[in-house]
C-alpha cells in the first residue's frame, strides 16, 4: 500500500489577543484598549477593562480614578448616565 501518512507532531501557532469591546480606545485616556492606561506598564491582565451598565468600556484604572474624583454620584463620561459597574 502506497499510502503516505502525515502526522502533526507539534503545531505552534501565533495569535494576538484583544479585548472584546466595541471601541478601539478608552474614552478617558484615549489609549488603545489593547494597550494599557497611562499608569500601567503591562497590558492585559494587569490593566483590565471594565464595562458599565451603559455598555461603555474603560480601563479599570481610568474609570476608578474618574469615579473617585466625583463628589456625588459619578456618571459615565461617554453618555452621562449614572455610572454602574456591569454585573
Amino acid at each position: 500500500m502506497k499510502v503516505k501518512i502525515l502526522r502533526i507532531l507539534l503545531w505552534h501557532a501565533v495569535a494576538s489577543w484583544t479585548w472584546d469591546a466595541q471601541d478601539e480606545t478608552c474614552g478617558i485616556c484615549r489609549m488603545a484598549f489593547d494597550g494599557c492606561c497611562p499608569d500601567c506598564k503591562l497590558p492585559g491582565d494587569d490593566c483590565p477593562l471594565i464595562w458599565g451598565a451603559c455598555n461603555h468600556a474603560f480601563h479599570l484604572h481610568c474609570i476608578l480614578k474618574w469615579v473617585n474624583s466625583q463628589t456625588s454620584q459619578a456618571h459615565c463620561p461617554m453618555c452621562r448616565r449614572e455610572w454602574q459597574f456591569k454585573e
Binding site: I8, V14, W19, D20
Partner: protein, 866 residues
Amino acid sequence: MEVLGSSDCNLEILETLSDDAIQEITESYDGFFSSVESLIAGTGDSFVEDEFVSHVYCLCKYGLDSLVRDHFLRSLEQAFEKGGASSFWQHFDAYSEKKLHNYGEEIQAVLCKALEEISVEKQYHEKCLSIVVHALQSYKEQSSVDRQTSDTERVHLFSRFQSMLSSTLMTTLPQYFPEILHWYFKERLEELSAIMDGDGIGEQEDDCMDLDEKLRYKNGEMDVDEGYSQGKRLGHDKLVKNIGKVVRDLRSIGFTSMAENAYASAIFLLLKAKVHDLAGDDYRTSVLESIKEWIQTVPLQFLNALLSYLGDSVSYGTTSSDLKSPLACCPSPSFSKVVTPSEGIVRWKLRLEYFAYETLQDLRIAKLFEIIVDYPESSPAIEDLKQCLEYTGQHSKLVESFITSLKYRLLTAGASTNDILHQYVSTIKALRAIDPAGVFLEAVGEPIRDYLRGRKDTIKCIVTMLTDGSGGNANGSGNPGDSLLEELMRDEESQENVGFDDDFHTDDKQAWLNASRWEPDPVEADPLKGSLRQRKVDILGMLVDIIGSKEQLVNEYRVMLAEKLLNKTDYDIDTEIRTVELLKIHFGEASMQRCEIMLNDLIDSKRVNTNIKKASQTGAGLRENELSVDTLTSTILSTNFWPPIQDEPLELPGPIDKLLSDYANRYHEIKTPRKLLWKKNLGTVKLELQFEDRALQFTVSPTHAAIIMQFQEKKSWTYKDLAAVIGIPIDALNRRVNFWISKGVLKESTGANSDSNVLTLVESITDSGKNEGEEELLTGEEESETSIASVEDQLRKEMTIYEKFIMGMLTNFGSMALERIHNTLKMFCVADPSYDKSLQQLQSFLSGLVSEEKLEFRDGMYLLKK
C-alpha cells in the same frame, strides 16, 4: 705672542749683527737642517742628537726659536705624510673596491696592524718632538729668559703636532675607511653578543643587575663571581680589550669622533636587528623586557668595559676630555674624570633604550592592524606598544599609520560589515588599553564610523552582534557576539561602582582626593571634543554613535527580538530576558518597555497554554481525524507593542482549524472578556511524513504544512486549485511549493500553461533520487523571508506621509538641499504626526524617491523630476 716678539727683535738687531755672527747662524742653520732630517729619518745616533741640541741652542741665542719650531714641525709633517700616513692607507687599499658587509675576517688583523704601525711611528715622532722641547726648555733655563713656564711650551707644541697629524690623515682619508671601521665594530659586537648569549644562566644573573652594579663594572671592578663563567668572562674581556685598543689607537691619531660614530652606529644596527629578531610577527608575548635585558647584557656591558678600559689607560692630556660621547647632549665641562664615565654610561643607556623603544614602536605600529585583528591574544604586544609610546610620545604616528592601513585594508567594499564592526570593537578595546583617555581612539574611530554610516546593514549587524551572545554565531569566525555581551556586563558592573562612588563619597576629603587625581588631557586631544569625562570609553556608546541614536538601535533590536520570539516553540527566553535587562541598563527602562512587554507575552503565553491544556484534558476521547490539543501550543501577542507583523491570509485544513478555534474558545472562557485572533500564517509546525520506506521529519511554516496536508486528500493538484483551497496567491504558493519539490516530496509536471501545472505527491522517496535518506530536521529555508516588517519598510511607510509635503515644497522652491528640507519639515509638521525623523532617515527616503524617479538629485540639491 712669543713669535711676534722675537721677530720684532730681529729687525732691530739685524743692523748690529757682525759677520761672525752671520757666519755662525748660517752654519748652525745648515747643521740644524741636516740634523733634523737625520733625526726624523731615525738614522742618527746620540751624536746627532747632541749636535742637534747645540744647533738649537745656537739658533735660539739669536732669537730664532720660532724658526726651530716651525721647521721641525714641517719636517715632521712631511715625513709623516710620506711615511706613516701613506703606508697606513696602503693597508686598506685592497678593500677599497669591496662593498659593505664584505670585508672578511682578515680586516681585523689588518686594522690592528695598521694602527699599531702608525702608533709606533707616532710615538717615534713624539720622541723627536720631546727632544726639541727639551732642548728649547733647557736653553731657556740657561738664558734665564723665563717668560713662560716649561709646560705651556710642551703643551703648545704637542697640540700643534696632534692637529698636524690628524689633519694630515684626514686630508688623505679614503672614502671607504669609515665603512671599514663600521664593519669592524659590527663584527666585533656580533661576536660579543654571541658570547653573551651563549650562557643563559649568566644572562639571567645579568637581568637582575641594576645600574649601581653596572657602574661598579664601569669602574673596573669587574668581578668574576658575578655569575659569569670564567671562560666566557675571559673571552669577553679579551674581546673588549682588543676593541678598546683599536679605539684608543684611533683616538690617538685623531679619529675620536669617527670611532665613536662607527661603534655607535654598529651598536644601533645590532640593537635594531635584535629588536626585529625578538619582536618578529609574534604578538602573543611581551618582548620589551627581553629587549631591555639584552641592552643591559650586550651593548651596555660592552660600553662599560670599553669606556672603563679607555678611562684607565688614557695617557694623553689631549684625549682625556673626549671620554664623553660627542653625541651626548651638552656635557658640562666641569665633570671630573671619575664622574664622566658613569654619566656617559647613563646617557648611553638612555639613548639605547629610547632607540629600542622607538624601533619596537615603529615595528608594532606598522603591524597594528594585524595585532588588533587577533586582539585578545595579542594584548602583550599592545602592552609593549603602550610602554613604548609613553616613552617616545609619538602617538600621532600611530594614529596616522593606523588610519592609513584601515582605509587601505578594512574600509573597502570587499570587507563585510560584520568584520568591520568586529575590528572596530577590537580597536576600541586595544586602543583603550594604550590610551585610557580615548583621545586617539577618537581620531582613529572617526573614519570607521563615517564609513559604517554609509552601509545599510550596519544597524542590523550591530544588533546581531549585541544579541547573538551565547553561541549563536553563524559565520564561525571567532565569537563576535559573545565579546559584546561580555562587554555589556562588564560595563554594568563598572556602572554600579560609579554609582556607589557618587552616592557615598561626597565628603570634602574624597572631593579633594578626586581633584588631586585629576590629569590633564594629553596634548594631542582635540579641545573641541569635550573633556576627559565625557570621552569615557564605552563600546556600546561608540556603537550607538555609529547608528546615530539609541532609538534606532532599540527599534532594530525590537524587530530582531520579535523575529526570534515568533520562531520559538518552547517559550525558553532566558537569554533574551538577560539581553533586555542589560540593554535596559544602557538605554533606560522606558525605551526597552516594549521589548519587555514582548517578553512578558511569551511568559503569559506559556502560562495560558498550560491552563488551556489542563482545562481540555477533561474532555472526551478524540474522534478520528481529530488532533489532540496537546499538539497545539501558541504564542499570544499584545499586538500594539510588537512591530508590525506581516499578515497573510491562509486557509488551514479542517482539523487544524477546529483545533485552533477550540483553543481560542477556551482562551475566551479563561480570560473573558478577552479573545484570540489567530495569525494563521505564523508559527512553526513539526510534522512527520511516512513513506513506504521511511519516515521524514520536517519543521516548516504553517503555510507549508497546509500545502502538504492537502495532498492527504488528493494526490495531485493544479496550482490554481491548490492556491484557491489554501487561500494564498499563486506566486506565494509557488515559492512554498518549491520547498517541497526540493525535498523530493512533491513533483511538478507541466500542464498546458503555468497555472495548470500539476503537482503530484511522490509516493516513494527513492523514486525521486533526491536526498538519499538522511532524516532531516530543517527550518524551511525560506525562513529568511521574515514575518516581521523590516525597519526600512516601516520607515518607508511612515515617511510616505511627508512625501506630499516634500513635493509641495519643491514645487514652490524649485530645488532644496537636504538640510533645508529637513528643517522645513521640522518647522511645519508639528501636528499629528509630528516630524521626528533624523537627517539620515530623510536622506535615505529621498534617495528612495530619486530611484523611483520622482525626484532628481543634482549638486547636493533635490528637485522635482520633470
